[in-house]
Symmetry: C2
Subunit: 335 residues, 2 copies
């Protein structure tokens, strides 16, 4: 069983497209995004269509910035949180391109990216897009309660990010290299509270991080930053505790996309922080890639976590299995 793959043949980030919604525009990282919406409907007639709009814009932006057409793409790897991945499918019907649909809940960003990168490294493909999205209103009503119920959210609840992120990976050399990937395992810590998904996902994140470090043969300080996707406030604490118990100190180098995207003054709305497929996608492709390009970071490990339940399983009193997929990025001119 091999979980970590070092991409020795060269896989690079050619370009990316990042789109966010109105609440995220008021957050910490809006300046690093390609496109921001002032309207939660993004000019569409319902929330699902709004998410499709953002998803499409993210792909188009990545293609424009990378100067490619669909003819230059071997495939699009995409997924989202809405039942049967309909956001991805309804957008992709307007693109004439081979499509692989994936589902990893909020780990979909790194899951799609690692699969595309493995196929490029193996010489099967030359370039491909990995894309995902989430929309706060569309997911809340599907996973929890209709928005109109106005349910009170506990402090441990995270807030689904409205946005979409696409990345174009290629065998063509660029300034950011996809250095290695680690495929996650399904880990069930027997948590049953869908209002505290961070704590449920933390054991999956620690499992993937420890396996990654052991497989590569390095300590945590090999990376300038080890970033989780959407553990947010409570889950991040659980992760650092688990890792500390296992002898890994990530205190100084860990951060979480869910803790980075919103501003402190939004806490009464977002509670524990951001989550959703878009959270890790837009923060990584928008902000972290910027820090790699400007040399503020040289090596990072991005660990996207996903809670793999659905509301029926919660009603049936089952727990929430989780997964975490990891991708390591490196600045190309870094010595």
């Amino acid at each position: 069983m091999k979980a970590t793959y070092v991409l020795d043949n060269g896989v690079f980030v050619k370009s990316e497209g990042t789109v966010i919604g109105p609440l995220e525009k008021e957050g910490n990282l809006a300046q690093y995004m390609d496109l921001t919406h002032d309207d939660i409907y993004c000019g569409e007639k319902n929330w699902e269509n709004a998410e499709m709009r953002m998803y499409q814009q993210a792909i188009r932006l990545a293609m424009e910035k990378g100067n490619v057409t669909t003819n230059d793409l071997d495939a699009v790897f995409g997924g989202d949180l809405i039942n049967q991945n309909v956001i991805s499918h309804y957008v992709l019907r307007d693109f004439d391109v081979p499509y692989i649909g994936m589902f990893g809940a909020c780990s979909t960003s790194m899951e799609t990216l690692l699969t595309a990168s493995l196929l490029i490294n193996g010489g099967q493909m030359k370039q491909a897009i990995a894309v995902t999205s989430s929309h706060n209103k569309a997911t809340e009503r599907q996973y929890r309660y209709p928005i109109e119920y106005g349910n009170k959210r506990p402090d441990t609840a995270s807030f689904t990010v409205t946005g979409a992120g696409a990345v174009l990976v290629s065998k063509d050399v660029s300034d950011i290299r996809v250095k290695s990937v680690t495929i996650g395992r399904v880990i069930d810590a027997k948590e049953k509270n869908p209002y505290d998904m961070g704590s449920a996902m933390a054991p999956a994140a620690s499992d993937t991080i420890i396996r990654h470090l052991n497989d590569i043969g390095v300590g945590p300080d090999y990376y300038d930053m080890i970033v989780t996707g959407d553990l947010s406030e409570y889950g991040s604490k659980v992760l650092l505790d688990i890792l500390s118990d296992q002898g890994y100190n990530l205190q100084d180098i860990h951060d979480d996309c869910g803790l980075m995207i919103y501003s402190p003054k939004q806490k009464s709305t977002v509670h524990a922080g951001g989550s959703g497929c878009a959270c890790c996608a837009v923060v990584t492709y928008g902000y972290l890639f910027h820090l790699l390009r400007t040399g503020e970071l040289n090596r990072i490990l991005v660990v996207a976590t996903g809670a793999l339940h659905n509301p029926t399983m919660i009603l049936q009193k089952d727990s929430m299995p989780c997964i975490a997929h990891a991708v390591a990025f490196e600045r190309v001119n870094f010595k």
Copy 2:
């Protein structure tokens, strides 16, 4: 844009596991399956758990027959029809193995298999399992109406197969070779009737078949059989018509897994035929692999089709985008 990949480095079917439910046991192909259930609950307390039981059994059977443990597997590629792929995830929490979750609706069998095969051909992986399942009751209540409503089904409606199929693919030479794969595109023929998914999926199937034949540079008679996954009665007619209009005559070599699995005397129950992720999986891995091994078939192309809608999209009056992924299998000693 490249859609078809010839797997020149050698990818082979090591083993498979096929499990079916009680109605399928009364059908045409029960003798070719590894395990049959007399109880639609499979001894479990609800339909979702029944599907998980079959999914797990399919994986275990493939592993036992292939004489491998999880340590010998590089990854499991899995998916199903239930919201957020929970069947796959809840089973995989009991397997200590890297996992890639995929969604292609009823095309998931060939989607997971083609992705695993591409990664093995590229040298990234040595062996992996592709697995999928469906359960008639679990899907009917999710996609259409609660079973208890007793809605009348029109003749064009297909019947979701209860079963699970897993295949272990490997770089080790065996008696069946995965010869080539074609990744599908999302095709929306603007059909809106979820009681006639076969007709909606037929244009996606024809698109993939024509591209496959053109990419490989052969005519339809290169194959002994071109088998679609679950177009069933009405969709198969539409497919043959579209292909005929384009100059391809598949009349004598086309069959459909949805038309093969049930017996004629079950028509008043299953109407247009079988569908669901398990349909193409158990017919291909159980029956068609048997025909390849015994030399009754030498070369086949399996085209798994999927309707990529969900009930919300139908309520919002949108159409059903579809996809078809193809995998060509060849008997190894065939000259």
